[in-house]
Every structure is written in C-alpha cells, then in structure tokens.
C-alpha cells in the first residue's frame, strides 16, 4: 500500500509552517483580547475599558478567530495533505506563496483600521454600519488569497487522478477538496456583499444600503463557513485519529459520504440565521430549516464510524466487554485524547445547536449570550482542540523532531477543554436569563440584572484557563524546535479496514455534487435574493463609524 507512508518533501515545509504559524500567532493575540473582553463583561473595569475599545476588541477578536486563524490553518493543513496523501509536489509553489502573501497583507490591512477605531463594525459587519474601506479590503484579500489555495487543491487532485486512473483518491485529500469546493461556494455571498455593497458604502459612493439584501448575502456565508472551519477536524477524525489509536478506519466509504453530505447540506441553509428577520416570508425559511436538519446524516455517520474505529483499536489492545475497550485506548497520545474531548464538546454543542435551529426556540435565545456560548463551544472548543491536535501531529513531522515529553501537550488539551466548559456553560445560562450579546458594559447595580454577575465571573475564569492553554500551546510548539531530531518525516494516514480498490466515480469526484448544489442553492436562495430586485425595497441610510479624526 504505497499511500500509507509518505515523506514531506517537495519543498513545502516552509509554506506549511508559515500558514499554520501565522494562524496560531493571531490566535494567541485574539485569546488575550478574548480574556480581556470577558473581564470587561464582569463589570470590574479592567484597564482601557470603554465601549469604543470593547467593540474594537470584539471586532479584532472576531475577525481573527472567524476569518484569519481558521483560514490560514486550513490552507496550511491542506497543503500538507496534498503533498503527503498524494505523494506529489504542489502544482505551483508560486501560486501558493502568492496566496499566502495576499492573505498576510490582508490581515494587516484589516487589523490596523480596527486598532485605530475606524472599523469597529464587528466581524459580521452588518450594515448600515460601515467602517474604513481598508478593513473590508483586508478581509477581501484574505478571501482572495484563500481562493488561490482552492484552485491549487482542485488542481492537485485533478492532476493525481490523471496519473492514477481508476484509483480512489486518498480519503484525506478527498475531504480536503470537498472543503475547497465548500469554501468557494461559501465565500460567494460575503464577497458579493463586500464588493457591491460595503465597499461602495464605506467609500461614500452610495448613501443608502439595502440591509435586508446584505443580511441575506451574509447568511449565505455564515453557516457554511462553520463547516469550513470544522472539516479539518473531520479529516483528522477519519484519517489520523484511528491511526493514532493504533488501528484502522472502520469505513472509507462512510468518510467519503460524510464529506459529500457536509458539502451539500452546509450551503443552502444559512437563512436559519434569519428566522427572526422580517425581510423574508416563512416559506423559504422553512425549506432551509428542513435542509438544515439533514446535517444530522453526516454527523451520525461520523460519530458512528469514528466510534467503531476506536472500538477496533481498543479491542486490538486487549480491551474487553461492553466498555472495556474505551479504557484500553492509548489515552496518553494527544490525538486520541483530543478526538475524545472534541466529541464530548460536539455533543454539548450539538444540543445547543438543535435549540438554535428550532424556529420557535430560536426566538428565545436570539441575540443573547447563548449564541456566543454556543459557537465558542463548537468552534472554539470542538474544532480548535482538533487544530491543536493536528498541529501536534504534523509539526514534529515537518521539523523531523519529536517531543521528549507529551505531558505538557496533554495538559494543554485538558486545560482548553476544562476552560471551554467553565466558560460556556454559565454563558448559556446567561443567555437563557436574557443577557444580550455584544454589549460592552452592564450595570449590575440594577437589581434586574444583578443576578447575572456571578455567572459572568465563573465564565471569565474559564476564559482565563483558555488563555493559559493557548499560551502553553505556543510554548509547546516553540520547545519542539529544540527537541530531539529523529530524521523521520513520514506521514502515516489511517488505512481502512477494507481499503477500497475502486469506488464509484460519484464518490471519487465532485462534478455531480456541484451540480446538485447549484440546484439546491437556486431553489433555496433564488427567490429570497431575487425578491430584493423584484419589489420595492427600503434601503437604510449608511452609518459610518469612521467619520472625522
């Protein structure tokens, strides 16, 4: 099985290190901001706390955590998979570096106006609020840079298929290309919004902006972007975790199906973020709610397949009985530990997600802290913990060094897990109590909301645990540079119990699925977007935050 052991060469090391390095550098900065924000919300007034600085901070934190950190991580990991799983060089190193530098310039261009207080529009930039044009241009550059990556992933897979006719594309690469297509579809909405609505408004070319249209375009992006963040974690579940546990993947086919279903059912569903919005009737909200529910299919497929793979591993290691195999798993390995912790967080988060998704219950928690708690749990928790674990797996391969002691790695993962639980559980409660999100200051002297304060304090404590964990992560990676060289740079992906000799074309490429997706998108968004051009609309007056100074 030649696809089993590959070396990282083809001169991509620095490319990958640059992407993932920048990704985590920004994460560390944003974690500091996050802990500070938590402190502000408790009402203790830390240094620099004013509403202006709070919203600048949340804008920076959200922009980094939402756009910068996951995008760069996914790009870096994608390049890694493309060379190791396919065992071939990237189609164009120049294009890859060009994408990186575009994104890097974009990050700087976006952050500077936020720091100057000229783009405190939060990462969702809901108009009519508009900020400095450089902020939007910066975000756009990050997106355009990532499109280079998309092109390279699709190109690399096509190239490999030409050279290996009839052979199944390795699962890790199949998932990565699914994510590349997903990202291309995802960014369509926000790119149109930025180019045709926000940039003209921020430059003063237009005085009016159609807020309903902008919100709909953003919703187009807002849901699938979450799956874009999530897919690297799924790729690790399927192709690394079983290997780390010392066994095989239960089913390669399930993996392919899951990636395809995630691609399909993440896109035509974004209007569930607009349940409470008046610019749409209930009809298409209902259709998209139904499509949203289908995401349970790939979720259950994955939970089942990965649990089965882990059970195989546990039993191979001598675990007996109904649950004995769980204890027999190699918990000391960071990847195994992280996978399990991630599953637990996904379970909690999934519960909250069902509440968000239910039309009626959504009204109860809409725009409350519940929402912030939910996405920190799913994304900040379940997903990012896998980013850590992936990095712990591939960084040593890139450096050809091995950490002497994995205890600090495990400590870091546990800290993150405990931190996120302590942070988000009270946060959910606060949401149920009605605490709004995105509010800089609360007057806890007011008896109506005084009961919130203790919960906010507990939550802040969790936030600081996460900050400590983020810094420990940076430390763990830094110390790796002085660890023992091992001279081994082979990447091992999990092999399926029954490795497929061939798979149907439908499960080896994306043509069919892209056509289907086109159909679903036209049905789901055709009228909701088209209506803005068919009927009288009531644009809002543009409100600029960066006027003066």
């Amino acid at each position: 099985m030649p696809a089993e052991r590959q070396a990282v060469n083809y001169r991509v090391k620095n490319l990958i290190l640059a992407h993932i390095g920048v990704s985590f550098a920004t994460l560390a900065a944003a974690a500091v901001l996050g802990a500070w924000q938590m402190t502000v919300r408790t009402g203790v007034n830390p240094p620099f706390a004013t509403p202006e600085t709070y919203f600048a901070s949340v804008s920076a934190h959200g922009t980094i955590m939402g756009y910068v950190m996951p995008t760069l991580f996914t790009m870096g990991f994608g390049y890694f998979v493309a060379v190791t799983a396919l065992d071939q060089p990237l189609p164009s190193m120049r294009l890859a570096w060009a994408g990186f530098w575009l994104a890097a310039v974009g990050i700087v261009a976006a952050i500077i106006p936020i720091v100057m207080g000229k783009a405190t529009v939060l990462y969702t930039f809901y108009p009519p609020l508009t900020g400095s044009v450089f902020y939007y241009l910066g975000v756009l550059l990050v997106v355009v840079g990532s499109w280079f990556w998309v092109a390279l992933m699709i190109w690399a897979m096509a190239h490999w298929k030409r050279n290996n006719p009839g052979r199944p594309v390795p699962l890790a690469m199949f998932g990565t290309v699914a994510n590349a297509f997903l990202w291309l579809w995802t960014t369509g909405g926000v790119a149109v919004e930025i180019i045709f609505q926000l940039i003209p408004a921020s430059l003063g070319w237009t005085q009016m902006i159609d807020v309903g249209l902008a919100r709909t375009l953003f919703a187009w992006t807002l849901h699938p972007i979450v799956y874009f963040w999530l897919l690297p974690a799924y790729i690790a579940f399927y192709t690394i975790a079983p290997q780390a546990a010392g066994a095989r993947l239960y089913s390669d086919l399930m993996g392919r199906l899951s990636f395809i279903l995630l691609l399909l059912f993440s896109l035509p569903v974004g209007m569930h973020h607009l349940f409470m919005d008046p610019e749409h009737g209930t009809g298409f909200k209902f259709l998209q709610a139904m499509l949203t529910a289908l995401v349970v299919l790939p979720t259950f497929l994955t939970v089942f397949t990965i649990s089965a793979s882990m059970e195989i591993a546990g039993r191979l290691r001598g675990g007996k009985g109904l649950f004995g195999w769980i204890a027999a798993l190699p918990w000391d390995r960071p990847m195994v530990l992280a996978t399990c912790l991630s599953f637990v967080l996904l379970g909690f988060g999934g519960f909250g997600g069902v509440v968000n998704m239910a039309y009626a219950m959504n009204a109860m928690i809409h725009n409350t802290s519940w929402v912030t708690a939910h996405f920190h749990l799913i994304f900040g928790g379940a997903v990012v913990i896998m980013y850590f674990a992936i990095t712990y797996w591939i960084w040593p391969i890139l450096l050809e060094r091995e950490a002497a002691d994995v205890r600090p790695l495990r400590l870091q993962l546990w800290l993150w897990f405990i931190g996120i639980v302590i942070m988000t559980f009270p946060w959910h409660v606060l949401g149920l109590l009605g605490q709004p999100r995105r509010i800089a200051t609360f007057d806890y002297a007011n008896p109506v909301i005084a009961q919130w304060q203790p919960w906010v304090f507990v939550s802040m404590f969790g936030g600081y645990l996460m900050l400590v964990s983020a810094l420990l992560f940076v430390w763990n990676i830094a110390t790796l540079y002085r660890a023992r060289p091992v001279g081994d740079n082979r990447m091992h992906y999990a092999v399926a119990v029954y490795p497929p000799a061939r798979v149907p074309n439908a499960l080896n490429g994306f043509a069919l699925w892209n056509w289907l997706l086109l159909f679903l998108m036209v049905v789901a968004y055709g009228y909701p977007l088209g209506q803005f051009f068919l009927m009288d609309v009531y644009p809002g007056l543009v409100h600029r935050v960066d006027i003066g100074s």
């Binding site: 009016m208 159609d210 610019e279 749409h280 009737g281 209930t282 009809g283 298409f284 909200k285 209902f286 259709l287 139904m290 499509l291 289908l294 149907p504 074309n505 439908a506 069919l512 289907l516 159909f519 679903l520 049905v523 009228y527 209506q531 009927m535 009288d536 609309v537 009531y538 644009p539 007056l541 409100h543």
Partner: protein, 277 residues
C-alpha cells in the same frame, strides 16, 4: 484487451447514470415536499378560509393583491433624521432655557406656553412629548418630509440647534393628564393596542408607543393627545398623504386597520376615561 476496457468503461457509465438518477430523485423529492409544506400546508393553517394562493403569498412575504407599500427605492428617504451618535449627543446638549424663549415667541399661540394646546383638536399637545419625537417632526417640517402649510414656514425659521432646544423645552413640561385606557373601549381595541393582530401583521401599539418603549426613538407618546387629532393622523398614514414615518412603519400598519378600528384606537388613546362613544 481493448474490449475488456470498453466493457469496464461502459459499466462505469451505467453506474454514473444510476447515481445521477437516484440522487436527482432523492433531492427533488425532498425539495418538493419541503416547499409544499412550507409554502402551502403550514400557512394554510393560519388562513381563515381555504385560500391556497393567499397562503403562498403570505409564505413568501407579499400581499395577495401584489401591492406593497407606496414607495420606490429611488424616492428620497421618508425622513432625513437618523439616530446616529451625533444626533443623540446633540440632543443631550440641547438647552430647554433657550427653548423656552423661542416657544414664547413662536409656538405658544397655538401649542400653548407649556405645551398644552389652545385647541387640541387641531394642534397637538406637546407637553411631556419626547424630545426625539418633537425634534424629528420639526426637522421633517423643515425638509418637507412632513407636509403642512402651517408648520412648514414656522419650522423653517428655526436653526437645527433651536429645533433641539424647543424639543428639550416641551419634553420637560408636565404631560397633559394621561388618563389610561378607556373603560368604554371594546375588547378588540384593547387587544389591538396591547397585543396587536399577528395574523394581519399588526404589531401592538404599545410595543413602540408604550411606557417602556423599546421601539424606534421617534415614536411619540400617544396618551394625552386628542382623539380627533390621532384619528386624523392615522387616516393620513393610511392614505399615504402623510409619509414621514421611517421604513413606512405606520403606513404599513394603518393600511391594515379598518376605519372603525382607527376610530376606536383614537378614542382609546385620545380621550381616555372622558370619552363619549
């Protein structure tokens, strides 16, 4: 050898066709069923009579007769007032003292020196009205967003700062006794004011005009006004003769109200316990 390959590739093509077929069937069925339920079945439940066409229209958010409210996107905005930080800060800095001198010279003849109107049927009481509401209306008279042969020339003599001062002055006066709901008001009028009529897309009046208003800044306090003045304004919104309501909120609502309901609501808010039905 070559026939073997032909055989295999034709097998592949058959397999591809099968996938295409079943995927189309599955996706098509799912979409059609969801659309049927979302566009027809569920909305029909809220329809008083069996009216599938009306149900579909409501489900996609338009009226059955295809009408939408009044205005084209190319029209000027309903009002040029925006509740930006700048507007609010300026209002905070307004001076009721200098407002008081302007009122004596310019407004008192009709609206009364303390904002208690000399003829509430014609001229609204301004005492205790909110600063935002008065400011917005004066600005709209100035720009022509609200049309009035009497008020336009008067408002136009004021600078923007004077407008704010006047608003601050009236807002600080004691409101004309707010009597509360009329005992004679019928249950459906009380319900309209408190709960609205969700099936007709009418929010409750209280949600914007109530004591703890969380609605738009410019929504005025209604208690303490005369019934005939209120009814007059409701009718003007309904006919779109008056059109300075932002986002056509009041035009949308009044279009749904019957003349009897407007009358009832006007009495409910306007004359309080003193109402003679």
């Amino acid at each position: 050898m070559s026939t073997d390959q032909d055989h295999r590739s034709s097998e592949r093509r058959a397999e591809d066709r099968l996938w295409r077929f079943w995927v189309s069937i599955a996706a098509g069925t799912f979409v059609v069923v969801s659309l049927l339920v979302g566009l027809i079945v569920l909305p029909l439940r809220d329809e008083a009579r069996f009216d599938p066409w009306g149900a579909i229209c409501r489900a996609i958010g338009i009226r059955k007769d295809g009408s939408t409210v009044t205005k084209k996107s190319s029209d000027p905005p309903a009002s040029s007032v925006t509740w930006s930080a700048g507007t609010r800060l300026a209002l905070l800095g307004a001076s009721p003292e200098s407002g008081s001198t302007i009122v004596k010279e310019t407004c008192a003849a009709c609206h009364g020196e303390t904002g208690v109107s000399v003829d509430p049927q014609q001229f609204p009481n301004l005492a205790g009205q909110t600063e935002e509401a008065i400011f917005k209306q004066l600005r709209d008279f100035q720009t022509g967003a609200r049309v009035s042969d009497i008020m336009a020339p008067i408002a136009q003599t004021l600078t923007e700062a004077q407008t704010r001062d006047v608003a601050a002055y009236f807002a600080a006066q004691k409101r004309v006794e707010a009597v509360g709901s009329s005992p004679s008001a019928s249950a459906n009028i009380v319900e309209l004011a408190h709960i609205g009529a969700p099936a007709r897309g009418i929010p409750s009046c209280y949600s914007c005009h109530g004591q703890n208003r969380s609605g738009p800044e410019e929504a005025p306090v209604l208690f303490g006004q005369s019934a005939s003045y209120i009814e007059d304004q409701l009718k003007k919104f309904a006919s779109a003769e008056r059109r300075n309501d932002m986002f056509a909120r009041m035009r949308t609502i009044t279009k749904q109200l019957s003349p009897e309901e407007m009358h009832g609501l006007a009495i409910y808010y306007g004359d309080g316990g003193a109402a003679k039905p």
